[in-house]
């Protein structure tokens, strides 16, 4: 069924669906293959999950769900998850806004902005426990800060506040990266004008700047809310037992109580809010943000939204937060190079020796899997983005939604779904690398869909029509015209898939096996076995590798751009 009553849509797609498919074999082939893959690796696992939750011995029942949800323990976990996500969303957005505002609207020196950009990037590209390790050492009963510096006795690092702290530090960069271009895109002339009309700076901020930012702020809030809701690793280490959250509970249910069904049910409770937030963010809020940004405001003069003293204050705050992050990572680096952090601070490179010998298998496995996932994930994102944005075929909208599902859902859910789907015949992939690669491709490759669609929207359709008019088939046009123009989107997608492949844990922890193991899982094991040296060393290794690969990808992207190619 087409929803092509919008004349713009009609004119854009060049009319009618079915007739064109028969005449365009490349299109038909691509769509069919994609549906087959999406069906196998996205829909089938989710159906298996739902079947496991709702069907006992062939009968439909909500017993499982009710039983688990009426357990006080799980209900607490449910509300905790929501509450934590809400806090992270709010505080993280505020923090991200603080940073974005300072970077765009005050005259802080550009070197400072570069430094902030660099440090803020760290949490995004490192494994999820990195801040947690540093936190335990800094804020525990014998913590570096709480005990040695502040002399507080019996402080506990476990619970809501440290989890919140760690998650905010980990996720606020997302808000920062989302809000910065938005603030940049708002024409500062608007604010200047308000100023010239006699409004004080605070009033300008309140009545002009802030309202324009509201869609962006809402967008960030939802992004962070979803991220926190799905976070498995940080609460596992920092939340303690006083503050259980759903992803961790699901994991413990499966791994501790060998109850896959129970774990599936718990994760199902997570599914509903996650999907809700995802669709809200994607189909309502972010659309309005996009509209705000398209007014290109590049190249405008720096504008002082605030007076100098306030600017200094903001700058100082940002520096403080940046320094905190830096400190935690420095602690990590330090911990990787001393014998036993906190007890024996003798310098040693033994931990690195350990990770490259005993951990060599994990390193090799992780890199191999990442190397395979990267191009496949990039291709997936670009292909789906291109087809859903530019071509018309039956079920286009359904494909758009289905392709994003694994990304929308928390990793725990997807991991459990894969476990349930592929653990037994007819399709048995458990224990292979393929299942992990598939997870990465269809989960993280989906980020490329958005980027591709955005890039494509900047390419006028007349360019593709020009190619068509010159006699080129769909695939020729795609190869020679579209692909080079969306190369930037492809490369950024490569980056994302690689970073996520190196740092993912919440889904893949269910999928490692005797044959294939991942660095992040080893880090978790090391942390729980309290071999913090190797854990830190592994983490440093990941950060370095990710930086290096990203550098290579960026260099390749620059070389790829010919003079005069699309921005």
């Amino acid at each position: 069924m087409f929803m092509h009553d919008d004349p713009l849509l009609n004119l854009r797609r060049g009319g009618g669906g079915r007739a064109w498919i028969r005449k365009d074999p490349a299109l038909t082939a691509s769509v069919s293959i994609l549906w087959a893959l999406i069906g196998l690796f996205i829909l089938f696992p989710l159906v298996s999950l739902l079947a496991g939750v709702f069907f006992v011995k062939g009968r439909f029942t909500v017993e499982n769900l009710l039983e688990i949800l009426s357990t006080r323990h799980q209900l607490i976990a449910f509300w905790n998850s929501l509450w934590l996500a809400f806090l992270v969303g709010t505080i993280g957005t505020i923090l991200g806004f603080l940073f974005a505002f300072t970077a765009c609207r005050t005259r802080v020196p550009s070197w400072l902005v570069s430094v902030i950009d660099g440090v803020v990037l760290l949490p995004l590209i490192s494994p999820p426990f990195t801040t947690a390790i540093g936190m335990i050492f800094s804020f525990g009963a014998r913590g570096l800060i709480t005990y040695h510096v502040l002399g507080i006795k019996g402080a506990t690092v476990y619970g809501l506040w440290s989890t919140l702290f760690s998650e905010v530090l980990t996720y606020f960069p997302i808000a920062y990266l989302a809000l910065k271009p938005m603030l940049n895109g708002i024409d500062s002339n608007i604010e200047r004008m308000a100023l010239s009309l006699g409004a004080g700076r605070l009033r300008v901020f309140r009545t002009v700047t802030l309202p324009l930012c509201i869609p962006g702020l809402a967008n960030s809030f939802l992004l962070l809310f979803a991220a926190s809701l799905a976070d498995f690793a940080t609460p596992l280490i920092l939340a303690g037992n006083a503050f259980p959250v759903l992803p961790t509970q699901a994991y413990l249910q499966i791994t501790g109580m060998f109850d896959i069904r129970g774990g599936a049910v718990i994760s199902f409770a997570l599914l509903v809010p996650s999907l809700l937030v995802f669709f809200l963010q994607r189909y309502w809020v972010s659309r309005r943000v996009y509209v705000t940004i398209t007014g290109k405001g590049a190249g405008q003069l720096a504008f002082d939204s605030v007076s100098a003293p306030v600017a200094w204050l903001l700058g100082a705050l940002c520096l403080f937060v940046t320094f905190t992050i830096f400190y935690l990572y420095a602690l990590l680096l330090f911990g990787s190079m001393v014998k036993a952090l906190g007890a024996n601070n003798a310098f040693t490179l033994n931990h690195y020796k350990v990770i490259f010998t005993e951990g060599a298998k994990a390193i090799r496995d992780t890199l191999i899997i990442a190397a395979f996932s990267m191009p496949l994930g990039g291709l997936y994102g670009v292909l789906v983005g291109y087809l859903t944005a530019k071509k018309s075929f039956p079920g286009r909208l359904s494909m758009e939604i289905a392709s994003m599902l694994n990304y929308a859902l928390p990793g725990t859910i997807v991991g459990i779904a894969y476990l349930m789907a592929f653990n037994a015949p007819p399709i048995e992939l458990a224990g292979t690398a393929l299942i992990i690669v598939a997870l990465y491709v269809f989960r993280y490759g989906a980020t490329g869909i958005r980027t591709t669609v955005a890039t494509l929207s900047q390419i006028d359709r007349s360019i593709e029509e020009a190619s068509e008019s010159l006699g080129a088939s769909s695939s020729f046009t795609f190869r020679k015209i579209t692909m080079p123009l969306i190369a930037p989107a492809f490369f950024s997608s490569l980056s994302v898939v690689f970073i996520r492949s190196m740092t993912a844990i919440s889904a893949t922890i269910f999928l490692v096996s005797i044959n294939w193991t991942l660095i992040t899982v080893r880090i978790l094991e090391n942390i729980t076995e309290l071999s913090l040296g190797p854990a830190a060393a592994f983490s440093v290794f990941i950060v370095v590798v990710v930086f290096a690969v990203m550098g290579v990808i960026n260099a390749a992207m620059r070389r790829f751009k010919s003079p005069g190619a699309a921005r």
Partner: protein, 365 residues
């Protein structure tokens, strides 16, 4: 390659608008382009000319009707199989390819050898006057240069039909005039059947063999520039092409070919055309500004007079606005030198060039 004809038979395209309901972008449009002819679709924006062009190109599928290029029915053929050349309003050059590569693109698609491509692209580059620009990229070139590349790209593949969608509207006035001349010359040289879309009537008249005027999705009238100018078949056409005075006149008598009417106190005999008015009834005269000659009234024998309300010196001509019998009349007069012609406030006598006046049915009040 011999030129082919293009035959469009009653094509329509409809879409649903949220506010307006069902709207026809094009309704029952039929036209025929002779081989090698330069046909222009002319009309205001939203009239359906671009939609029609795009349907001929294959970018849109008509809801009904048929399109033939040469002897082939291409109605359901996709654009890339129609062997057309299309020039876009925004040029649509491939930003990541050089001028040479842009032009070579269509030949590449057709699987020509490198040597052939080099030769043919070289020829066309010279043809459009872009020698030396081979390695430039579109972003480094001016609008006019880009348009030439777009043109070159479309013609190098020797299309059966050349389609141009308002190719000059993004250029400044002087460049537009220069470019339209070049396009005209090029088309003459290559003898490709060409369909051109524009909203600029002067442009249309300058380059076309025939013009089709469209409005609100329908083809209103087609013919040569002169046909449309001097023999408009309805007020829309009359007012769209050139400047015009629409004047009411009373029918005194009529013969098989001519009409005798009274206007401004004088009697005129004009071409009757296809009209069938009642004696004593009214018709509307299409009076071009240059169809009236004025001179100082003393000593003239004309009974039609008017007073000069304004006089504007425009270089090679003078524009007068006269008041005659309570109507305003725009009159164009050739300048004969400084200070020539009647001045403001003067009473002048009007002489009419009857062969240049057309009559239209009086619109019902």
């Amino acid at each position: 390659m011999t030129a082919v004809e293009v035959r469009v038979e009653k094509i329509s395209k409809r879409y649903s608008h949220a506010v307006k309901g069902d709207v026809f972008a094009a309704r029952d449009v039929s036209l025929k382009v002779e081989p090698g002819e330069f046909l222009t679709l002319l009309g205001p924006s939203g009239c359906g000319k671009t939609t029609t062009l795009r349907m001929i190109a294959g970018f849109e599928k008509p809801d009904s009707g048929s399109i033939h290029i040469g002897s082939e029915d291409v109605t359901f053929l996709s654009a890339n199989k129609r062997n057309i050349g299309f020039v876009f309003q925004n040029y649509a050059l491939f930003p990541h390819l050089s001028v040479f590569e842009n032009i070579a693109y269509g030949l590449e698609v057709r699987g020509r050898t490198k040597a052939e491509i080099r030769r043919e692209v070289g020829e066309v580059i010279e043809l459009v006057g872009l020698t030396g620009f081979d390695r430039q990229f579109p972003a480094q070139m001016s609008g006019g240069e880009q348009q030439r590349v777009a043109l070159a790209r479309a013609i190098v593949i020797r299309p059966q039909v050349l389609l141009l969608d308002e190719p000059l509207s993004n250029l400044d006035a002087k460049l537009r005039i220069q470019m339209r001349e070049e396009i005209f010359q090029l088309q003459r040289r290559l003898s490709i059947t060409t369909i051109y879309v524009t909203h600029d009537q002067e442009e249309a008249m300058a380059v076309s063999d025939r013009i089709c005027i469209m409005n609100q999705g329908e083809l209103i009238q087609e013919g040569s520039a002169e046909d449309l100018y001097y023999r408009p078949r309805n007020p829309f056409v009359a007012q769209f092409i050139g400047r015009v005075n629409m004047v009411e006149a009373q029918v005194l008598s009529m013969s098989r070919e001519r009409l005798s009417v009274e206007v401004f106190g004088t009697r005129l005999s004009i071409n009757r055309g296809a009209l069938n008015p009642t004696i004593g009834g009214h018709v509307t005269l299409v009076l071009r500004p240059e169809s009236v000659d004025i001179e100082r009234s003393e000593g003239s024998g004309s009974s039609a007079t008017g007073r000069v309300v304004s006089k504007t010196f425009l270089g090679e001509k003078i524009e007068y606005i006269l008041e005659c019998s309570d109507q305003r009349l725009k009159v164009m007069s050739i300048d004969r030198g400084w200070g020539s012609g009647p001045g403001k406030g003067e009473v002048v006598a009007l002489t009419f060039f009857e062969d240049t006046i057309a009559a239209l049915e009086d619109p019902k009040p």
